[in-house]
Symmetry: D2
Subunit: 105 residues, 4 copies
């Protein structure tokens, strides 16, 4: 993941965009791109895969830019969150159900 | 990135959640998590960094789950999108401005 | 509000769109339009008021379409929610602060 | 609609919240609430109607607060947008299809 994060960093620096990449603006950008991704599925499930992938990429890129802006390693925060999720969704309770952790029995 | 994608895959398989991870549901999940991330910045910029990182991690995890569901390599789609973005935002026009590509001069 | 709700109903019926207006699809549509609205403020606060108003109108229209799809009166559900909010945010505690109700002292 | 808009205005003024209701913060709030609404439909269509209505109400309330912040009448902007939509989606072309206007034939 280090290589791609460095490439994104370079892309931003070449354009002198670091100044715009406040956490607040990046959070807005992620929501905006998430909306564009959702639009691929607005009325039905006949999605255009290529279009979907572009929008997913935009979400991932802004997510990684947030990591750059906050100076954290994406893998580290993903692993930390997965450990937390593993506790919220223990295999024996969560297996095969989509129930929210707060309502798991 | 391969390692973390495999760990996410294992997490899902252990819980037998693949059945829920349709692209449509994952697109909704990304928007939902993006909203939770945005809430960290709702009224001001005094954000709780730890909370922000958890929500960013959720966005990234769902983004990677979409790649798993669509059987694509995240780095590949990110690189493809960055090449496209590089054309939409050439350094000489985009440097130091946050203007949308359709309005760049 | 009755008049405008009826006009929206008519607009939908003329186009035979009721079939697409499931609550699930309308929830997606509201998120999509909310993202377009947010884009007006993506990098700074120099928003185009006319554009903002169009996106707000889209959010309101889909919100009212959800009321039509679920056969409820918008004013009634707004009033019910405002009563609930009034209890979560009592004037003496909430005055002049943007703190979330769960953290109000 | 005038009555409900005035009641919302009063609710805000009693709490001295006008200071927080910048268009930027209200746009974020609309996206956040839209995400909460979407969560009612995250993994399936077995939604809790009462919960859905509360989230729709939140979206509508913030939408109306945006109208208050920008000093416009909600009915007026809704009507203007509907006229625009009527041109983008003429009955003879849009009837019975969910195609986006840019791809209508």
């Amino acid at each position: 993941m280090e290589k791609i994060v460095n490439d994104i960093k370079e892309f931003i620096e070449e354009r002198d965009w670091r100044q715009f990449h406040t956490p607040d603006c990046l959070a807005k950008s992620i929501s905006i791109e998430a909306g564009e991704l959702l639009e691929c599925f607005q009325w039905n499930n006949n999605y255009d895969k290529e279009h979907v992938l572009e929008e997913v990429a935009d979400v991932l890129i802004y997510g990684l830019q947030m990591c750059i802006a906050l100076d954290v390693d994406p893998e580290t925060i993903i692993r930390l969150k997965m450990e937390k999720n593993a506790k919220k969704y223990p295999v024996d309770k969560a297996k095969g159900v989509s129930t929210k952790y707060s309502e798991l029995k």
